[in-house]
């Protein structure tokens, strides 16, 4: 790969600002407890539905940053194809931002819509890299409320 940074291709530029199709996330009791266990939470509202209700919540509470899991179906049509090609083969998670808006509970089903908000080519410790910044909005299907927004940074090199 030449050392000079290439320009973003027209396909790359066109992908910025284009929302993806919604992905359905299910927030289950099992998922909440597994997340809470992995992260080391001890607060009973994340493990015990009765304790959560005693604390004034409608059901088991999802810890901050947990929005369930996308529904996996091996028989479903392939997901969204890449909007553009890049010469970079390896990917790293570059960062996470979380902006909680509403409590999320066991039984919630969320629609997640991700939009690529920035794309730039840069040079770093690993050589040339493509830095993607995306924002995801999570909306609860039952009441239409936006429960959280997240920002993710992906590094391809």
């Amino acid at each position: 790969m030449p050392d000079e940074l290439p320009d973003l291709t027209p396909e790359m530029k066109a992908a910025i600002g284009k929302p993806g199709a919604p992905t359905t996330y299910e927030v289950t009791s099992l998922g909440i407890r597994t997340f809470g266990r992995a992260v080391g939470y001890k607060n009973a509202i994340y493990f015990d539905a009765a304790a959560a209700k005693a604390a004034g919540h409608k059901d088991l509470v999802s810890p901050p940053g947990y929005f369930g899991m996308p529904v996996f179906n091996p028989n479903a049509a392939a997901g969204r194809a890449a909007d553009f090609e890049t010469p970079f083969k390896r990917n790293l998670n570059g960062g996470t931002g979380v902006f909680p808006i509403e409590r999320v509970f066991a039984g919630d089903v969320l629609d997640a819509v991700t939009t690529l908000v920035d794309l730039k080519l840069d040079r770093g410790r690993l050589g040339q890299m493509l830095i993607r910044t995306s924002e995801t909005v999570y909306t609860r299907k039952s009441d239409g409320k936006v429960v959280a927004k997240t920002r993710g940074t992906g590094l391809s090199y």
Binding site: G31, T34, F35, R37, A38, V39, G40, Y41, N43, I45, A55, P63, P64, G65, Y66, M69, P70, L92, N93, G94, G95, T96, G97, V98, F99, P100, R151, T153
Partner: protein, 140 residues
């Protein structure tokens, strides 16, 4: 869980957690997050990709920061936001320190707010996950 009151917080105040990163924990995280990339649990795969050992998931570090903030905010507090960058790799099987330091205490739009610098430090003191957060806390 103890409830932090905004009145009792002071700028410069520090909070920490010391967390293990055993392979078992990383496997539980893989199940919780759906991130099954083998560099996080398969020694041979990690070393075959020029890594010194299996490494901790970046997102797990980000969520450990979330837990630190959640436990500080208490049931009556609220995390307005937190944002971290994954600047370095953390080898598994070593303890890490998840930390926060209050940088600003203020009131805005009817909320009692606290800004913090946050991060995750390796045992040798190297910072790998710097970031910032804002909490809303109850007032006495």
């Amino acid at each position: 869980m103890a409830q932090t009151m905004w009145d009792d917080v002071s700028e410069g105040q520090e909070i920490t957690l010391t967390e293990s990163t055993s392979s078992q924990r990383l496997v539980i995280w893989a199940a919780a997050s759906g991130d099954f990339y083998q560099i996080h649990y398969d020694d041979n795969f990690a070393k075959g990709n020029n890594l010194p050992d299996i490494i901790v998931h970046g997102a797990l570090k980000g969520m450990l920061v979330g837990r630190l903030l959640d436990e500080f905010a208490g049931d009556k507090g609220w995390i307005e936001s937190w944002d971290v960058s994954y600047r370095g790799m953390d080898k598994a099987r070593e303890d890490m320190t998840v930390w926060g330091k209050v940088t600003k205490k203020y009131q805005e739009s009817g909320k009692n707010l606290v800004d913090l610098d946050v991060g995750v430090r390796q045992v040798n003191g190297t910072e790998t996950t710097p970031g910032r957060a804002t909490l809303s806390l109850p007032k006495k």
